[in-house]
Symmetry: C2
Subunit: 270 residues, 2 copies
């Protein structure tokens, strides 16, 4: 067993949303090196076709594998929904974790009634990936899904507690709440930033599953099992690659990461 | 003078929004062949950096020039704002028209007080391209700009007359209306679909300039001057190329185009 595996964990997303997973990983595994890739030049993926998402994902995974990562974390629900198999094929035996597996597990553990809601982008909802993952873990659950395409732009606009966001949330949540769910999975890495508002809108009666935290926990377990943890106690290296650095990127990124973002570098893919 | 120039007009946009310009062209120049390119795999451009937008634009223009277009129309405000010079350099003498030049001209003609508002994406507003174009035409005007990043996703969600869209419009228009403008340029090709709602929100006191129509008019004039009109009276060919065909694309596209969209083809750039 390698007790000093200081190779980085590779985390990737279509944009900045995956930084919520990086943030949870930094908290849960404070000695691990992390390399992040966000495809900000082509974001968002959630409104694009499966073929295009697979092609973009392949380019990202090739990039990260060249950086000798010891594990890959799909920190994007859309990629996890439609291209997780492709990533596992490419990974060559290193662990691959994804936000959907982790979120589904947390939802199944949280629900008491077995009625689970999932809110996500259109592509994630249409893929049915959450329902499949949840039913695989517990065939006695019922899953109700709702696409919420406006949540990502609302979060990026910073309207986290705005009347417009509240009204939008009420509209989207209506069809989920009518099904009497007791648990709702936040099936997009942008949504954890709306947690306070969504708690409010659902009057605190619903357990909201944030897959960033559950993904970090699953990663810690999987690395420990595989003997891949970095047991050196040095200051970790964090490196952030993106395919574009637009205006306000640093501001938005740091809102997701919850701390300052150094070692940010732009690379072109494709 | 060539009286039978049946080469197509090339129209391009970051996505589907430019189809509003195609629609206006079909009405104004019913005998012209048109080839459209929408970069739906990488849309939206309005939140991306200037360097990235220039690179993507160059790929689109190369693609259209290979299709032997007789004119290029930049039907995307963001591209017009930051990459119009690049397009003109590449065009090799064929006419290049863009929505900003056309919109600026229409605004200057429409205003009585000289106080003009511009609403657009963040990148377009930050480029200051409308203010430059308007001041160039009439230095005595004053221009007030407001970025409206939520309008594109609201239009794509189809919430054209929704309370959420109304509240969002009120919030965005507040800072423009306080400046007592009498004319507002819809500086994004998605916005014409919000014209009824914006007329309502501004209580009909403002002239809303839709650059799709003014761009078609400017194109007609320029082609006539250059002797490039197609004087054959046949049924025109329309060909639509996009870099991705996601779910609901046809529906959304036809909402912009105002008619059915045949000859749709997917091509990969970059």
């Amino acid at each position: 067993m390698n007790t000093m595996d200081c190779r980085p964990i590779g985390v990737f997303d279509s944009g900045v949303g995956g930084l919520t997973v990086v943030r949870a990983l930094m908290d849960r595994l404070p000695f691990e090196n992390i390399v992040y890739f966000g495809d900000t030049a082509r974001v968002p993926y959630g409104v694009k076709s499966v073929g295009t998402i697979e092609q973009f994902t392949q380019q990202i995974v090739e990039f990260l594998l060249k950086r000798e990562v010891k594990a890959l974390i799909i920190a994007c629900n859309t990629i996890a929904a439609v291209a997780a198999d492709r990533v596992r094929q490419m990974a060559g035996g290193i662990p691959v974790l994804d936000v959907i597996e982790a979120g589904a597990l947390a939802a199944v553990e949280a629900t008491k009634t077995g009625d689970i809601g999932v809110i996500a982008t259109s592509t994630t909802v249409n893929s049915n990936a959450y329902a499949r993952a949840i039913h695989h873990l517990n065939p006695n659950t019922r899953v109700y899904s709702q696409a919420c395409p406006l949540f990502v732009p609302l979060v990026e606009e910073g309207w986290l507690d705005h009347e417009v966001t509240r009204l939008t949330a009420l509209e989207y949540m209506k069809s989920v709440l009518v099904e009497d769910v007791d648990t709702v999975v936040l099936g997009c890495t942008h949504y954890p930033l709306l947690k306070p508002l969504l708690t409010d809108v659902t009057e605190g009666r619903i357990t909201l599953v944030d897959s960033a935290v559950t993904t970090a926990e699953a990663t810690a377990q999987r690395l420990a099992e595989a003997g891949l943890l970095n047991r050196s106690r040095g200051v970790p290296d964090y490196h952030f690659y993106v395919s574009d650095i637009p205006l306000r990127f640093q501001t938005i990124g740091e809102r997701f990461l919850g701390r300052s973002m150094r070692d940010l570098e732009m690379v072109k893919l494709g």
